[in-house]
Structure formats: structure tokens, C-alpha cells
Symmetry: D2
Subunit: 308 residues, 4 copies
């Protein structure tokens, strides 16, 4: 099924192609200026650091439903190996095989295409089995540090976890923004909390996968209006799944990554951050979330840390 008019109408309104030049591969990350980063550093009050990554290990997030997206298979290649002879210092070394989108990760702009096109109108064919993403791969993002703002939609709704069928709307975001006590502005990284990851943390991977609350197709326009740099969430699918419009799969992915050129993050553990923000009443912080720089990667693991 080709993409419907409903999609194309929004796409036209949020499209950023050419905004940072025809060769730009960074999209909305261009909005993170030095000034934005200085202001982000000024958000640090207590020095408390809160990690937002899930542990990387077997049987963490993935159910096997997405082919090839395997949880980390961590293996030892040396165990207390006395490399230089008996009695010498002994070494441990390890290796891993994993899907780059298996755990807490960023999607690169090249993660999806629509109608044969990537961000900035580049052909989808620039992604190949041989080289991965030759355009707008995750390796082009060499640093990702900015102000982070937690939009705690679950808390704004007075719940620990939104229902599976809950589409997070612009109205939800604004209610959470009011709770946060700070206005989302250009260059911010917005973290949208639904509480869904509690299922994953409790070991219910199937329940975590779907049905899942998540962003409504109406939210990209809100992010676009605010000139957000990136958005991350605490679900597997990021957007509501199954989708709001039957047959229109992953529209938010396409609007963010292809039209706006805005990276998005999944499987972020926002539970401890929610607690800390709730206790202090402050929902803005320095967020350091640079993806691992895989050349040609269409996504990458990240170990984000909020500094409050």
C-alpha cells in the first residue's frame, strides 16, 4: 500500500530537506549549537548522574520477532590467559555479536526510507549490504550532548505506565511540559516517558513489544514547531504500535527520520530519571548520549547519562 494523503500532508509541513544544505547528513542535530550546550551545562545543579541504558546482555529486549536484531551474545575469548608465560599478568578479553538496534539505541537518519528516498532526498540505494549507510549513517554523528528534557507523560496522567493502546498526543506532551516546568526549545533532546519499559525490566519481553503506547502521528509537527534536536523514548517501537491508522506502518519513523532528519531513540530506561526529576521538581538536565560511531551504521547502541 502506498503512503496515504494523511502522511504526505504532514510530511510537507515538517520537511527539512535542504534546510542545512543539500549535502547535510545531520539534520536537526544542527540545532545543537555551542550556545545550546553551554546552557545545557548550566543546568547541572547537584552533579547527580543517572544512566538511561539497559544492560547489554542475552535475553534482554528482543523476542526474535525482528529478524537479525539479536540481543548481545557476549563471549570470552581469553579467560585469565597468562599470555607471556606462567606466573605473568593474566588477561581477560571478550567479543560480542549483537544487533545495533537491539538494546538502548539511536536510529540513524538512514534507518528508514520511504518511496525510495532517505533524508534530504537522497536515494535509498545509498544503503548497501556492503557498506551500510553511505549517507546519513550513525557514524556521522560524532557527538550528541545537549539539554535534555523529560516529558513524563505517564506521571502527567497519574500512572506508572500508560496503556498499550495509548497514543501520545501533542496535548499529552504539553501537559508533561507543564509538569516539567520548562519550555522545550530549539536544540533540546526530548525524552518521552510512557512507563512501558517496566514490562521489559520485569522480564515480560512479549508484553513490552506490543501492544505499546507511543507517539501519535500528530506529534512530529509538535517537535518540528519546537525545533527539537532529537527524541527518545522508553518503548521498543517508539511510536504507538499497532499503528493508529490501519495499514499505515511506522509513519512517525518516516516523518522524523526521512522528512525532518531527526534521530530517534528507543529502549531508553527512564524510570530512575523519572524518580529523580519527580523528587527535585526539575526536568531539564545535561544529557550526554553520543552513539557508538559505527561507520555506515543505520543505528547504534548508546549509553546515555543525564547529569542533574
Amino acid at each position: 500500500m502506498p503512503l496515504p494523503t494523511a502522511f504526505h500532508d504532514i510530511a510537507a509541513r515538517v520537511n527539512n530537506w535542504g534546510r542545512w544544505g543539500p549535502d547535510d547528513e545531520l539534520g536537526t542535530l544542527n540545532l545543537i549549537t555551542d550556545e545550546v550546550v553551554r546552557a545545557a551545562a548550566a543546568c547541572v545543579r547537584t552533579g547527580l548522574r543517572i544512566p538511561l541504558a539497559l544492560p547489554l546482555r542475552r535475553q534482554m529486549v528482543q523476542t526474535g520477532a525482528i529478524p537479525g536484531r539479536i540481543d548481545p551474545l557476549h563471549v570470552m575469548v581469553q579467560v585469565n590467559q597468562e599470555l607471556f608465560g606462567p606466573g605473568t599478568v593474566a588477561c581477560n578479553d571478550d567479543a560480542v555479536t549483537m544487533g545495533l538496534q537491539a538494546g538502548t539505541h539511536w536510529d540513524a537518519l538512514a534507518h528508514v526510507s520511504r518511496s525510495g528516498l532517505l533524508y534530504n532526498g537522497r536515494p535509498a540505494g545509498t544503503v548497501t549490504a556492503h557498506d551500510g549507510a553511505a549517507f546519513a549513517g550513525i557514524g556521522t554523528v560524532r557527538h550528541l550532548v545537549s539539554r535534555g528534557v523529560l516529558l513524563d507523560v505517564a506521571r502527567a496522567h497519574g500512572t506508572d505506565r500508560l496503556e498499550g493502546g495509548h497514543a501520545v498526543t501533542p496535548e499529552d506532551l504539553e501537559a508533561a511540559e507543564e509538569l516539567a516546568g520548562t519550555r522545550v526549545r530549539a536544540g533540546d533532546i526530548v525524552l518521552v516517558r510512557t512507563g512501558q519499559i517496566r514490562l521489559c525490566l520485569d522480564g515480560d519481553r512479549q508484553g513490552y513489544a506490543h501492544p505499546s503506547p507511543g507517539l501519535s502521528i500528530r506529534t512530529p509537527e509538535w517537535f518540528h514547531a519546537r525545533d527539537v534536536a532529537a527524541v527518545a523514548g522508553d518503548t521498543l517501537t517508539f511510536e504507538i504500535f499497532p499503528p493508529e491508522i490501519p495499514g499505515l506502518w511506522l509513519p512517525v519513523h518516516a516523518l522524523h527520520l526521512v522528512e525532518m532528519g531527526m534521530p530517534q531513540g528507543q529502549n531508553w530506561d527512564l524510570e530512575k530519571l523519572s524518580t529523580a526529576c519527580g523528587e527535585t521538581g526539575r526536568y531539564a538536565f545535561l544529557l550526554s548520549a553520543t552513539p557508538e560511531p559505527f561507520t555506515g551504521g543505520t543505528g547504534a547502541p548508546v549509553a546515555p547519562v543525564a547529569v542533574l
Copy 2:
């Protein structure tokens, strides 16, 4: 050959076992207090961000000499796959196999043992092929953000790159500290620049590997005296290689990781940082360098960013 007296004498002087309790797995990272982090954030002046990680790709660092420590094999598992039918949004997904210590990385405390013991006197046997490091693995380090100080030893010596046989001494560190114009203090992450990584960046992996300049066996006492939280460098071997004392292999690894409980980083690209610090005359910055949280990992890739 068992470890010589020279080693044990230093070991006795720098040993931190029990300092943070018998069950501690974090070692000198305990020195990074909230106060230290607040001060680190206050170092941010311009907002400029400088990435310190090498790209993750095939044929980057490793020569094959260290068995199992392979450069990333990045593969696509989906290329523009229209998962939900023709005309729908198309997805790209990838996977990787790599040595955890292959590129820019942190060594976990469990990376080496000596005389059958890890940090805090725990048995080396707590590292197994099945589970990796059950004690002091990299997964216990959930955040690593602090003040970073660049000790630019190469520049202090008036060169782009130290010779292969150059052992970096405490005197070298102090000369670089003077150049830096700031005193290294408790909780700092020290970045020691030799310039050796220029060989790697130029494609000479063999030359990069060895002979390599690096830390002298005399430096752990200096780091211990300053209560440094962690040290990272721009070489493959971290310490001088081949070693200063024939037959005494990897003594700095053992002193840092086992005796002091201090993480160390390798293959960090400090070239752009050196340029930026040289231009501004400021060598201290906010450093965000949280390792990927592999459960049981004895090391992990990291994408460090200095915020100046």
C-alpha cells in the same frame, strides 16, 4: 616468571583493596563525587564538543596479533526492507561482531588478574567463559562523567609524536601538567597524549601497535598520589611496549586495574582535542565517557566526548 620484587614494592604502595569496602567493584571511580561533577560542568566555557573515539569499522586498529580481538564486522541484516508490504516505509537494520577491546575502549577492572587475584582480592576465577566477569565487570560502571584533563606529553616535548621507545614518566606528566595550567586532582580523568595514534590514523596499524611509547611503571604512584579516577591514552598498549623491565609484562595494567582498582582506556584519539586545547590554552573540560554496559564485560567500547 613470577612477578618481581620491583612490582610488589610499588603494588604495596598503591594498593586500594578495602578502601571502599570489601564488596566494592568500582575502585577509583568512587572518587567522582557529585561535587566533582558539578565542578566539571563548570569547566564548560565555549560549548565546543570534541569526539575522542575512533570510527568503528573493519581494518581500523587491530592487526590480528591479539587472538579474538577483532575489528568490528558490521553487517546489514535488512536493506530497505518493506517489512509491511510493497510501498510501505522501508527499514535498514544492522548487526556487528567485534572485540570489546578492539577500538576506543575502557578496560574493566576485571580485564587482568595477577597471582590469581583481581581488584579487591577477589579470585580470578570469578571470570568465566560462561558469565564473563561476575565481579568488577564493565557493566557495573553505569556512568562515567567527570572533569577531564589533557596531559599533552608530546606537546610538552615539542613533538607531534613521541618515539616508540619513550617511557612516559612522572616528570613527563608534571611537565604536561604545567603546560596544562591546572593541577590534576581527586576524581579527574587524565588523558595522556603521546601522538602515537597518528600512525593508526595514517593507516600504519603495525607501526601503531609496537614499539609504542606509553606509561612507565613509575606512573601509577603518581596517579595514586593525585587520586585520579581513571586514565586513558592514545596507544594500543597503554603502557610502554615492549616493557621497560625485560620479562615484566603489563605491569602498569596490573598496578592500575588490580592494585588500585582504576579503569584505563586505550585507542583514544586525542589529536583534535590537543589542537583545541593548544588554541585556547585550556586543558580541562567536562568529559563524558560512559562505557557500553555489557553485563560481565571485561572491557567495552566507549564514545567519549570532551565539552570545552
Copy 3:
């Protein structure tokens, strides 16, 4: 729980340590003499070839219950890549990550140890994370071709598939031998059919895994009496699972691999072979089943073919 007397009594009766010299790593495979192979070739009547391997692909056998034993993750590293310029011959290349025991495979003698010992009394410590099996690994088996005999226990019981709780006894083997119309003799490879793999072929991986019919602890003595070279079966666990004697786990593994030095095979698809043997009334054939020669492997995939 240490191994009980019941185990040690049988172990003493079937033990082959030293039988082929103190340095032998091949065990009962020594029983496959040139003469045995000539006789095996003489079994070929029709020339019909029947493959006994399951396909190697994602989501085939493994449920994730055995840590690290992952189904093949097959990935393309080149897709129609014109390596030498536009218009030239284009190449496809692939790579795989998989557990060596994930699909149709042989266990090497080094696959299990008991009481700290491997076959021929060698220390279990000869298996290391660094080198794998330095003794009796699968790489020492450079060819495995002999007479194969199908003992179709399911058919002898008049069923397509034995119940999950069915322990295959020596009496079962003899009934199947009578059905086969040939006496099992020295150097034979015996294939024991339970029909359990039908569950796997039908997509029921959990049901296939357990409860599973399989060899009784009483069968190793029968194989020993006949001087069988190797035994393979159509289940995941090979022996009955859960075990016959509560708390005595994998006794047949230990008796075969450690005491007798006899390789064993799992996840063999014997369905088509059963049909062919039933139609012709002939249950003996040339069996070619050389494992992939992984140096230090404690098991390996195999693509066995019966030539009738």
C-alpha cells in the same frame, strides 16, 4: 550432587581409557577401519542419497534456554557488489554467527567432563576460553564415513513419534535391530529414531526441547558391547530429558563422551530416511558425516548424507 554409584558402576564397565593408547583423541572412531568402510561402500544399492541435516537458519531449533547456543544468524556482507567497477561481474558474500551445537551436529569428546576429567583421563582444564579444546576437540576428526544403521525405534513401536517420557532401552534397540534386519557391528554409526524431530519440523521448538524421549542410561552398555563407532539421534537432548534418575543429569553424555570416547550426534532429521528404509526394507547404508573441522571445537555442525 556428586555422581552416584549407579553411574560409576556402568562407567567402570564401558570405560575405554587407554584402549587405543594414552594419547588417543579419537575413541571409538578408531573402530572404523578401512575394511569397515569398504563394507559400507558395498551397502550402496540404489545410489539414492538422503540428507539428514536440518536447514541452518534463524529460528530453527534453539529456544534460547541454552545460553550462547544461538541459531545461525546468517548475514550478507556483499549483495551484487561490482567489486571491480560498474558492469563487471557482481559478487554476493555472506557470514554467519552460530552456536556450533545449534543445529544438526556432532558432540566432540571434549564436549563434557565429569569429576574434572575428559576422555582418556585428561584434565577438563585442557579446555580453555582461549583455545577451546586442546584435547579431543572436533578438529581431530578429519573424516567420518562408515556404515550407518537406522534403528527406527518409533516404527518398531508402531508410532510416528515416541512419547516425551519414553526412555529408549536396550530392548527397544534390539526390537529396532530386528526390524532393520541387520546386526549392528563394530565400527557402525547407529542412528536412533524417536520421531521427536517432527515437533521441530512443525515449528514447535519448545515441545521439541522437552520433555523428550531419548536414550536410557542402560543403552551405553549395549553400544559398548557392539563396539559402535558413534550414535546420533533426532532429539535436542539425545538422552531422555528430564532424566530417569532425578538429579543425575546427562549421564549418557558422560558415559559416551568421557568413559567410552564415543561421539554423539543431535538434531538429526531421520524422517525421510525412515520412509526410504521402510519402503526398501533395508536399514543399512553408507553414511558420510564428517563434522566441520573447527580447531578446538567441542562440537561442530555436520551435513550427513545416507547413500542407500
Copy 4:
């Protein structure tokens, strides 16, 4: 550069498209009839078995020049793990990551395409990053047993190893056939020995890779005339490399795999077989060489065994 007339002329003469029907995926393997296999079994005289596979291990064949085609990275995921509690039977388990064409292997027909086409005129686009080869992948070859004939070109030339620049011609094949004392016939698997693999066995991987002796562009017509089922050799590149006609890369690959639909094998160790055939004066044998059945694989490891 598009393929030259010289290529297309030969292609027209050896093309087998449609010969076994429009949906055929097996090509010349169809020539291995039951009758051929019966005759192959009748070749067994002594029962001696000779393995033709290189060991599968790190640092065996690959130099890193072919991206993604990595030598096996064999890792232990369990080492003497007492899975069911202290004192119970202990298990060793392993996993591997490797290029399917890294060691001794078969190329599937889908390994190469030319002008956008695979064997039988199917579109090259049937190979995808997601599924691998949907047509003519290695998984369609469920058994590969036939008469093998060693054409010992090196010996026929009175040398242990042909020079790097030696193109093996039809005349070379006929001289070797005369030495073999048997006429190559329909359904045979021909093994062409150059001796080049001695370099690999001696540890000279670079020298082994190229310059390499190998099949001339003139040989496909010879194999076609004899209706050979498959051809394997003892070099990395199979055909002479660098190529005979400058700019015409891998023409033999394209003629065999695409036009004829004939599988080809590389990195086969024919040294011991050469010795045995030389001693007995018999160069024909039963050859069992079934590839590992990777679904969608464009090649696969194989552990071939000649039974003399």
C-alpha cells in the same frame, strides 16, 4: 566496463539456462544421477579416507583483503560449566563467527551475477540483505556425493606447485586426465590441483592469495563438453588471478555459476590426496562433499572426504 564479446561468445556456447526447466536451482548437479552414485561407490577399493578441508580457525586463509570474509572466530560460551550444580556433569559449548566463503567451501550458483542476472536468467535482485539468496542458494543443495576425479595438473607438469602466472588450460586438463588414467564423464566432480595451497599451509597467506595459478577462461567449455557436475580447486581465487584478459574480472566464475549453473569449490587441500593417488595410480574415488545447508547462503563451508 561491460563484459566483452570474448566473454559473451563463450557464454553462448556453455549456457545451460532452461536445460533442467525454468525453475531449476541445481544446475549441473542434476547430472549426478543414482546411477552415477552407484558407480562412484564402486570406485572404493581400499576404504582409505582422505579429508580435503583446511582446519577452520583464526588466521588460516584470509588476509582481510576481501571485506567481511573473515576467518572463523571460534569462541567458547561455556567452559566446564556444571549447569546442574556442583559435582554434576560439566559442559563445554562454543560459537563461531565466520565468512561462509572463508575456508574450504562451495560457491552457490547465487554467489555471482552478471548483467543483473543469475543462473537460469533469474534477476540478481533475488539476493537481498534480508534473506540472502532466495534463488539458487546453497541451502538447495541437500546432498553432494559423486565420483571424484583428481586432475593433478601440477604433477602432470612435473612440479609441486605451478607458478603464480600459470593459466590452467584445456590442454593441461587433458594431460592430467591422461595421467589419471580415467576419462572425466557426466556427473563427475573434478578436482584441479595446482599445488598453490602449499603456500597457505606454509603460512604465507599473502603469497597464496595472489598471484595465483588457476583456471583459464578456456576451461569452462571443456567442463561443459564433459558435463561435469562441479569443479573444485586448491586456490583462493579458483581461476587465474590477476586475470588473463586485463579488465575482465572473474570470467570463469560467471561462466560456471551463471551460464552453466555449475558449483565451484575453493581452498580445497589436495596435497594428501595427490600423494595417495600418486602412490596407487588411481585418481578416481567416491567423493562426499555436501555443503552446510545455510538457507539463503551464497556459499558454505564443506568438509569433503575422498574415499579411495
